[in-house]
């Protein structure tokens, strides 16, 4: 039953992924002109002469004069073989450019998600069980402040505090000596030492909203008849709480993965700029501005696919913890 559900759910992602790839390709095709028009404009602006013949030759070489579906087909069949095309602007394969940045983005997003859960789960439970206590009010206040403050503002404030009071630069994900160094244990440790600042910045608002969600869910469950039944069995209050109401309050918590993940990645763009993080956000923006379509397309496609995968993971987790989902 469970296996059938998972297989069915995975099969469902295939049409989704195809749709997502079509939409991403349509998106990068949407602005008028192509890379070569903006390339020509840049050349003209710097006073260089634009050789129309050369432009036409380039256009033909990259297939930019072909109809939409043909271009899409060329692109997507390349992607399936791991070839994302050539970045016009950087003049090197897109695959070389994106993997490290995507990796860091996902790393940051996962770290933030874990942080969010680690904070929201216990605080949310506490807030619900001790409703209207001092602790609940404190959590609520912090929650609302966290929700209301934009991430980049927190980033700026933290940077200011870091520089003024601790005399250290908190931006970036690596220290200078590891900036361009190949991967090593030292570099990983260095990454971890830097990662916590953006994690806190990005995690504040989602933790705040998850605390509220957890609190509200649990408050709904705490007075359900099955809790009374379990109490009448003689369970201790803590076991009871964890085994019954928290277990049921977890459902919406798990479904948050689906939306929290893409939100973290797209929400990170501004913060990444402020903190000059070497993640995908800044490069994506640059690629979009330059109409560097293969680079931008690869990013958009990967981010969208991550969203679909996030949904898939949350659906499967949901089926694991709640049998009612499986039997529908």
């Amino acid at each position: 039953m469970l296996l059938a559900f998972i297989v069915r759910r995975i099969l469902w992602t295939v049409p989704f992924l195809i749709a997502v790839s079509l939409v991403s390709f349509a998106l990068i095709q949407a602005p008028p002109g192509d890379y070569l028009t903006s390339f020509a404009a840049t050349l003209a602006a710097s006073g260089d002469e634009v050789d129309q013949g050369r432009l036409e030759a380039l256009r033909e070489r990259y297939g930019l004069d072909q109809p939409f579906l043909v271009q899409y087909w060329r692109w997507i069949s390349g992607v399936l073989q791991g070839d994302f095309g050539i970045s016009f602007e950087w003049q090197q394969p897109v695959a070389n450019l994106i993997w490290e940045r995507m990796g860091l983005s996902v790393c940051l997003a996962l770290g933030t998600l874990l942080f969010t859960w680690a904070v929201a789960f216990p605080v949310g439970i506490y807030s619900a069980v001790r409703k209207y206590s001092i602790g609940d009010y404190v959590a609520t206040t912090f929650g609302f402040i966290g929700l209301a403050t934009p991430n980049f503002l927190i980033a700026l404030v933290l940077m200011y505090i870091g520089v003024i009071y601790f005399g250290s630069d908190v931006s970036g994900l690596f220290s200078e000596e590891y900036q361009n160094a190949p991967w090593s244990w030292g570099k990983v440790l260095d990454l971890l030492a830097h990662l916590w600042i953006p994690v806190i910045i990005l995690g504040t608002s989602s933790s705040a909203s998850l605390i509220r969600i957890m609190r509200a869910n649990l408050l709904d469950e705490l007075h359900k008849p099955y809790v009374v039944t379990a109490r009448a069995k003689g369970l201790s209050e803590f076991t009871l709480l964890m085994r019954y109401p928290v277990r049921l309050a977890l459902n919406p918590f798990v479904s948050t993965i689906g939306w929290a993940f893409p939100q973290l990645i797209s929400g990170a763009v501004i913060t990444a700029f402020v903190l000059s993080l070497p993640t995908s956000g800044p490069l994506l923006l640059q690629a979009l501005l330059a109409q560097d379509m293969y680079l931008a397309g690869a990013f958009i496609l990967l981010l969208c696919s991550l969203t679909v995968v996030g949904m898939l993971v949350s659906d499967i987790l949901l089926a694991l913890i709640d049998p009612r989902v499986r039997y529908q």
């Binding site: 099955y226 009374v228 379990a230 009448a232 069995k233 003689g234 369970l235 049921l248 709640d322």
Partner: protein, 594 residues
């Protein structure tokens, strides 16, 4: 006083059965910002091993709170304000074995609600089952997991042994194929099966006292009869003392050895069942019994009305009505089979009569009512309506614009008086809405009409400024009735209008409906699962089973000489409010084709 009462009744038996649990002068307070509300006030109860004490009362009488106070599982912020709850452990088989016969009295009320001491009592010595078997079991744990948990909490048993015991318990409560049922989830079971699983869980540690809080209220009569029978047999084999909390005098008469009648947090009368039923001392007990007995026979008022003014020509003719809910279409899998909710039903409703539709849940009676209301598409058959001018129209296949004027003539009263009224509208808006929507009245004229309608249903005109939450269940149902008659309809479809109400209110609401029938010349289609109410209120009755009408006829004829085997089974399962006519063990279940 209790001593004299017990002495008056079978003294030998009373002595033979030792006292297991005693409640003395119990008071429970619920503090709130507006002061302290005393839900239970000076309650004395005695439970004897192997005997059943029924605690009976209407909603809000404090009977459930009393039960929860015994186990100290009161909802926040409730607390025991006075009194004692004593468990005589040495009188229980388990306690006697543990203490070697030495006297051991545990004062439960003195233990802290979260203490290990009281937790050891819960489930082991005193177990509890609840009303709503759906929500009282966890939906995400298997039945087995929940039973095994109860076993392993109190007995040192390995996982495998506990599982064996759980399967054995499921077998005891007669759940088919217990080996596979143990790994099932609650939502895979029917209501009756869930309640059996709940009972199995309560029996997990062989408790000496079983507290059953309205264990059959959410179940159909035939299922109720089976569950009550099961409780009685398990009580006999385990020697448990049972505290049965109920509002249903029929269940009390069927089950109890002793009765305690509660009202406003106090026990107004207490004694052996025959004394209470045959020589009730308190006015309230007499009123309760009177209300129940009145519902067990035809309303004299209705008989007089029909004698003076017999039902006329048919007003509504339902011919071969059929409603099929298509099975859900699923991708990657075969579609679920379709559900035939109403299967070839032919009925007619005569002018000025009340037609009852009786059946168990899932029999299609509510769907039938909704078909008449025009709430469904895709119906087969005909519903022919005879207008005031004698013209006949088939309601099926009419366009919405043509159906609109007819909607004013056929109105509905709903079951749940709490959810069928919009909490954000005043009573005036609720009752006035149908007239406003139909552009019939507005302004001061509308207000006058609302006042008039309120007066007709026995509410003061001042009620119109208030919101539904300010009214009790019975009053809300009156508001719902006022809304239904606002457009001066000819037919009212009433779907279980009294089943959410206390017994003493039921006959009042039914009498109000009779009164309105006489004044306004209404015809009713009255849907109910309650034979007593049908017998009191309906001229003819149609018995539905799995979407089909299996029997239709004059109510008294159907009730006294049922023709169809299903009707006989249904009637045999209804508990009579007379302890001398216990007969549920003589019931039989109807199986199709049998």
């Amino acid at each position: 006083m209790p001593d004299t009462m017990q002495a008056a009744w079978s003294p030998g038996e009373a002595e033979a059965a030792p006292v297991v649990l005693e409640v003395q002068g119990l008071a429970v307070d619920f503090p709130s910002r507006r002061g302290v509300f005393r839900a239970v006030d000076g309650v004395d109860l005695v439970l004897r091993s192997g005997r059943t004490l029924a605690v009976v009362g209407e909603s809000g009488s404090g009977k459930s709170v009393t039960a929860r106070a015994i186990l100290q599982i009161l909802d926040q912020p409730g607390r025991i304000a006075a009194g004692r709850v004593l468990l005589h452990r040495h009188h229980t088989t388990k306690g006697a074995a543990a203490s070697g016969g030495a006297e051991e009295v545990v004062e439960l009320s003195a233990l802290a609600p979260r203490s290990a001491a009281i937790r050891a009592i819960r489930g082991r010595d005193i177990a509890m089952i609840f009303q709503e078997p759906m929500s009282s079991l966890s939906p995400v744990h298997t039945i087995g997991a929940q039973i095994i948990e109860a076993i392993r909490l109190h007995d040192r048993l390995g996982k495998r042994a506990a599982r064996e015991r759980a399967i054995d318990l499921l077998r005891q409560v007669e759940i088919p194929r217990p080996e596979t049922a143990v790994d099932r989830y609650t939502f895979e079971f029917s209501g009756g099966m869930r309640q059996r699983a709940m009972i199995a869980m309560a029996l997990a540690c062989n408790p000496s006292v079983l507290i059953a809080d309205e264990p059959t209220t959410a179940l159909d009569v035939t299922t109720q009869a089976e569950i009550l029978d099961l409780i009685r047999r398990l009580q006999a084999s385990h020697g448990m003392a049972v505290m049965l909390i109920t509002h249903d005098m029929g269940v009390v008469a069927e089950m109890a050895d002793e009765v305690a009648v509660m009202r406003h947090g106090q026990v107004v009368e207490r004694g052996p069942i025959l004394d209470v039923f045959e020589r009730p001392q308190h006015d309230y007990t007499r009123m309760l019994l009177g209300a129940v007995r009145a519902l067990d026979r035809p309303s004299p008022r209705r008989l007089a009305m029909r004698a003076a003014n017999p039902p006329g020509a048919p007003l509504l003719r339902i011919e071969a009505l059929r409603k099929v809910f298509p099975g859900q279409r699923r991708i990657f899998r075969a579609a679920a089979p379709p559900v035939i909710a109403v299967d070839d039903v032919t009925l007619e409703l005569r002018a000025g009569e009340t037609l009852g539709v009786v059946g168990e849940s899932g029999s299609g009676k509510t769907t039938l009512g909704r078909c008449v209301m025009g709430l469904f598409d895709g119906l087969g058959g005909r519903i022919e309506y005879v207008g005031r001018d004698g013209s006949q129209t088939n309601l099926l296949g009419l366009r919405e614009s043509a159906l609109r004027p007819l909607r004013r003539e056929i109105r509905m009263v709903f079951q749940d008086p709490f959810s069928s009224l919009n909490p954000r509208m005043t009573v005036e808006q609720i009752i006035g809405e149908p007239m406003l929507v139909n552009g019939m009245l507005s302004g001061a004229a509308l207000q006058r009409r609302v006042a008039e309608l309120l007066e007709m249903v026995g509410l003061p005109a001042t009620a119109m400024e208030r919101y539904p939450h300010a009214f009790s269940g019975g009053q809300r149902q009156r508001i719902g009735i006022a809304r239904a008659i606002a457009l001066d309809p000819r037919v009212i479809v009433a779907d279980e209008p009294t089943s959410a109400l206390d017994v003493s209110l039921r006959s009042q609401v039914l009498d109000l409906l009779l009164d309105l029938q006489q004044r306004l010349g209404l015809s009713f289609i009255f849907i109910s699962h309650d034979i007593g109410v049908i017998r009191y209120f309906c001229d003819r009755v149609a018995v539905m089973y799995r979407g089909k009408v299996v029997e239709i006829g004059e109510t008294e004829a159907v009730c006294t000489a049922p023709q169809h085997a299903y009707t006989r089974a249904l009637l045999s399962a209804v508990p009579h409010p007379d302890p001398r006519r216990r007969g549920l063990s003589g019931r039989h279940r109807y199986t199709e084709g049998a």
